[in-house]
Symmetry: C2
Subunit: 290 residues, 2 copies
């Protein structure tokens, strides 16, 4: 078949993203077969029923045997441990890629853990839902979205090309970016917003209002605003820890802005407030216009 | 007509909320006629065309003449000035109400500015859009929403009953609440979330990422998250100033939570992070379940 890019794909972690990769790759015949690895037999069985994988193993070593493409799709904090475990079992010429939200030094570490006859290509599809698990995997999860690939001087050009071809076939526009630049951008546009949503929920929990069914008193803002706070907590713990330095920088900036707003409120500085509010509105409108 | 609650309604400020009140009241024949007041003739003319009002004046004094219900629907910072201006022109037995997002001492002040032969009933329909203006006024804006009324010891029971009947007829469930309790709840569930969204936008503007079309790198979280930051800035300036004390209390609480999260990231305390993340997720799920 002309569309076939890989013979055997191993999906390590068959959740929302990994499950969707398997599902679309199988439907579009981008691979001959998809092998899944996970911890829970019931969920893997469900992934087979949903068409996300052909078969599965409860051992990552077994799952990668014979695979020419390995997709790491667990929470990003597990990547190093998995790379160590699968390294001796990878076949020569195999390509390892990932879908993690943190790149930077993580990419270097994974590269250093893999044998020299294997290529690693860091990847991050910009897609997600507030729900997790293979049950919400979907054939159009990546349609119209971007996938960032983060090649390094060690990345094999042919491997990069094949992984890019896969992500194009999965429906995304592929962008190449330096791993550290990726982490800086993500800290600003994704990691800080998520942290802010979690902080808002925690703040509400610390007030008496939390016991009074607060959504009754919200016109939808609270609901929209905190959609992200329903995301998988192990995934976000790993992101906050692994991109910690960049995120802390963003929190510092953000705390400065909060302090400014607070001072303007205390000083009853209406003109100063409207300046910030208008700027935010203009940026926001430029975001939704696209 | 049995459904008629008032003869002549004056809507002071014909925007999203005021325009929708007029529109629904006219369609449902809850009033015989609706007179609008605004600053811009073009917008008022548009409000007539859209069916939100029957006629208009560019002077609030003229707009309230002969009205038995006056609805204050400008940004909340203008209420006192308007109350002063219209006070001598109100007819005996008229009811003044408002749709402002801040109650508390504001209610007391407006009460004290109005003549004793007029009743004031504080009101706050929990409804809104990120867009403003009569163009987005809608016949179903209030359907299924709540409207909070904030009677005081001075509120006339018959006036309260009539305003409650109006809001029920407009589609809301009516809740009565102490004006100061209202402000505390709103500071938590609405005012802090809006401030947080504005602060996030301002933070993004202070990074280089703002120049790189950041929405490209966001899976939708940023878009949802900042929907509220597109709201009318004069309205939000007024809310931040008038409910300042309660909002500053909430900012303080929120800053404490941010500081805790930052410390846990710096300490690489995964267990501590997951505890907060899980709590947020549970609260969030309880919100969307309702």
């Amino acid at each position: 078949m002309k569309s076939e890019l890989f013979k055997q794909m191993a999906v390590i972690g068959v959740g929302l993203i990994g499950g969707s990769v398997g599902l679309i790759a199988r439907r579009k015949h981008l691979v001959r077969s998809v092998v899944g690895y996970g911890k829970k037999r019931g969920e893997l069985q469900r992934a087979v029923t949903l068409g996300a994988i052909d078969r599965y193993f409860l051992s990552p070593q077994k799952a990668v045997e014979g695979a020419d493409l390995i997709v790491l799709a667990t929470p990003v904090g597990m990547f190093e441990k998995i790379a160590c475990a699968i390294a001796p079992h990878l076949k020569e010429g195999a390509i390892v890629t990932d879908v993690g939200s943190v790149k930077g030094k993580e990419v270097e570490r994974i590269e250093s853990l893999l044998p020299s006859y294997v290529s690693f290509v860091g990847g991050h599809p910009i897609a997600g839902r507030e729900k997790s698990g293979v049950e919400v995997a979907s054939a159009d999860l990546f349609s119209g979205m971007r996938c960032i690939l983060t090649p390094t001087p060690r990345t094999h050009p042919a491997a990069l090309k094949k992984v890019a071809a896969l992500w194009k076939a999965l429906g995304t526009t592929v962008i190449e970016m330096d791993p550290l630049v990726h982490d800086q951008i993500m800290a600003a546009v994704s990691h800080l917003p998520h942290l802010v949503a979690y902080a808002l929920m925690e703040t509400l929990l610390n007030t008496r209002v939390a016991k009074q069914d607060p959504i009754r008193f919200s016109a939808g803002g609270l609901r929209d605003f905190t959609r992200v706070a329903a995301s998988a907590s192990d995934m976000w713990r790993d992101i906050f820890l692994l991109n910690g330095a960049r995120i802390v920088e963003m929190i510092d900036l953000y705390q400065g802005v909060l302090e400014t707003l607070k001072k303007k409120i205390i000083a009853q500085d209406g003109a100063g407030l409207i300046e910030i509010l208008d700027r935010a509105r203009v940026l926001r409108q430029s975001l939704i216009g696209k």
